[in-house]
């Protein structure tokens, strides 16, 4: 070492655990006006359902989508009905918006090169980005559930809950099941978010990544509804999204949910690995 080296600033040690970047990412996701609007739109769904059921004739609620005919018996079903309603399109779209933007958004704005030269290792950047998307997916699902329960219990009775199997449980028991449902749907969305994260590493334009990710959700549901392709169904993510109804029986029928979680896990591992493989080698020239 020459004399010049003595002039160098002492190397700063890395902090073993630092949650600052994660917290910064969460605040980026949740303070972003667009994402707040998405959450607000999702919150409107249970409100609209509750009000529509309330103002319609009480004898007019047979049939209709799942859970709708239970709402007048107990308000908590507003949450389940709203979750079913958003699950096919609004919720995947909401997750697409944040997942597609995760890497492509930073790349498009050029902020990616500054994060990488801080330096943030690429693996850490992806992990933090993915965690941010999953947190948003949880927040979106929980928003629908919480608003649903709140408006449901204001407009409708809230004592014992008659489950799909016909048995009655306490409201606390039903709320516990609602928490499980929210976690299950979050897990499903986490798998979908992994696809979005991968797409986000492929393109530089966030809008393209968002559209492509939302397209995957739609294509998956179309495939699942083609009778000739029923053999493919069980391998599709969306096939298992509605299995959460099984949690509302006594005893709980966990078969579909467990199968759904296995498929979810496979998707998470596969697409996160793809995203990592792609991003680790990617030339950042934006």
């Amino acid at each position: 070492m020459s004399a010049v080296d003595a002039m160098l600033a002492p190397a700063r040690p890395q902090r073993a655990v630092s949650t600052r970047f994660m917290r910064s990412e969460l605040s980026m996701v949740f303070r972003r006006r667009r994402n707040q609007v998405v959450l607000a739109v999702l919150a409107l769904v249970p409100l609209l359902i509750a009000i529509a059921v309330k103002v319609s004739s009480p004898h007019d609620n047979n049939g209709g989508p799942q859970f709708f005919n239970h709402i007048t018996q107990n308000g908590i079903f507003v949450a389940f009905a709203a979750l079913t309603a958003v699950l096919t399109f609004f919720l995947p779209l909401a997750v697409s918006v944040v997942a597609g933007d995760a890497v492509a958004g930073e790349s498009h704005q050029g902020t990616l090169r500054y994060l990488l030269t801080v330096p943030v290792t690429r693996t850490r950047l992806l992990a933090v980005k993915y965690a941010g998307v999953v947190a948003f997916a949880f927040a979106a699902t929980a928003t629908v559930a919480v608003v649903g329960v709140a408006i449901g219990l204001i407009l409708f009775p809230g004592d014992t809950v008659t489950l799909l199997s016909g048995t009655s449980v306490s409201l606390t028991n039903a709320l516990g099941r609602l928490v499980l449902v929210v976690l299950y749907i979050t897990a499903s969305m986490a798998a979908f978010a992994a696809i979005g994260l991968f797409v986000s590493t492929l393109v530089e334009a966030p809008v393209a990544a968002i559209a492509a990710t939302a397209g995957v959700a739609i294509a998956s549901q179309i495939l699942d509804n083609v009778p000739q392709l029923h053999a493919v169904g069980p391998y599709l993510l969306s096939h298992w999204w509605t299995s959460f109804g099984d949690l509302l029986r006594t005893p709980m029928e966990t078969g579909g949910v467990v199968h759904g979680l296995v498929v979810t896990l496979v998707y998470v591992v596969f697409f996160c690995s793809l995203a990592w493989a792609r991003f680790a080698e990617k030339d950042v020239s934006s």
């Binding site: 600052r20 910064s24 980026m28 902020t111």
Partner: protein
């Protein structure tokens, strides 16, 4: 003429006496893009520690791509490079915290304030102490004169203000190396002067500065060393004095007796004597300008005007590249 470095060690022998540690060193660095275009072509960069190294070249000559490879943003197709003797990109996590950079213009989240953008970058830095973050962010903003605009959204910043914010981001921590890609882009003359002052202050504090520019005058004013890029190749590098001595000064004589003047200059041994009407010029080899002037007067040449032009970097550049300082294709 270029400095040479011993591969595999962090010391090299420069044109200056004694060993010089290299802050940046590359050998055979090459980047070929997927389209087949070779943006960086076997570049052997040697940036001595403590130098203000002007990375000079027209737009499109490969400066920014070289910088991106140096910072491990893009992978090299061939060749190796080291920062402070440590192999990159393997040592990126330990070396890059010592490096502040501004790459191809500033880039920030437009909906966040200047201070919030710096806070995000600081949060991403695992070597940064959160307790001192506020103080370091304010300090960096003050250094670039953005203290008053810290709370404003970046969307409302002018290009010059964004450029300053980019430099502030590079100054969030004490740095051993600053890589500044076109730092005066978009700045007014006042801002340009401030950047020059800042660069010399950082250099005085012991930092190495690698500053790319397509402005010859800028490099001439702030740099101790120069590397000249042209169509992906590093044509020349070394100290700025060595670069100047590549070309000799030229004496210009204005007189009513140009023929006599030509005779005198040739007799004195000046080369490349040219005559254009009453204007005669020639290259000085080792003659002192005052002796030349005296000889002309002694020989009875009525001298109306006698000027010696030091070679400009532009002259040198033209002589190196054989063409003007235009955009590389």
């Amino acid at each position: 003429m270029t400095t040479t470095a011993t591969r595999g060690s962090d010391t090299g022998t420069g044109h200056q006496a004694g060993p010089v540690s290299l802050a940046v060193q590359s050998s055979g660095l090459t980047k070929r893009f997927r389209g087949g275009q070779v943006a960086v072509d076997h570049v052997d960069l040697n940036v001595p520690q403590g130098a203000v190294y002007g990375f000079l070249g027209p737009n499109g000559s490969g400066k920014t791509t070289t910088i991106r490879v140096l910072l491990a943003l893009i992978g090299a197709t061939a060749g190796t490079h080291r920062l402070f003797g440590q192999p990159m990109p393997a040592a990126a996590a330990t070396v890059l915290p010592r490096v502040g950079s501004l790459v191809e213009g500033p880039a920030f989240h437009l909906h966040l304030s200047g201070a919030a953008n710096l806070a995000r970058l600081d949060a991403a830095d695992r070597t940064a102490d959160p307790k001192t973050a506020r103080r370091r962010i304010d300090g960096a903003l003050d250094q670039v004169g953005l203290g008053a605009a810290a709370g404003k959204r970046v969307r409302a910043y002018s290009l010059g203000m964004k450029q300053r914010l980019g430099i502030a981001a590079a100054l969030l921590q004490p740095r051993d190396l600053l890589v500044l890609d076109e730092p005066t882009n978009g700045l007014d003359p006042q801002g340009t002067r401030e950047v020059r002052t800042l660069v010399s202050r950082l250099a005085e504090d012991g930092a190495t500065v690698l500053v790319s520019s397509h402005l010859l005058s800028e490099v001439e004013q702030m740099c101790t060393h120069v590397g000249v890029m042209h169509i992906g190749k590093l044509l020349w590098q070394g100290s700025i004095d060595d670069l100047r001595s590549q070309q000799s000064a030229r004496a210009h004589v204005q007189t009513v007796a140009p023929t006599n003047a030509v005779d005198v200059l040739e007799r004195l041994g000046l080369t490349a004597v040219t005559r254009n009407g009453g204007d005669v010029s020639a290259e000085l080899i080792d003659q002192a300008p005052e002796d030349v002037c005296a000889a002309l007067v002694d020989a009875g040449v009525p001298v109306r005007r006698f000027v010696v032009d030091a070679p400009t970097l532009e002259d040198v550049f033209v002589s190196l590249t054989g063409e003007g300082f235009d955009v590389s294709g």
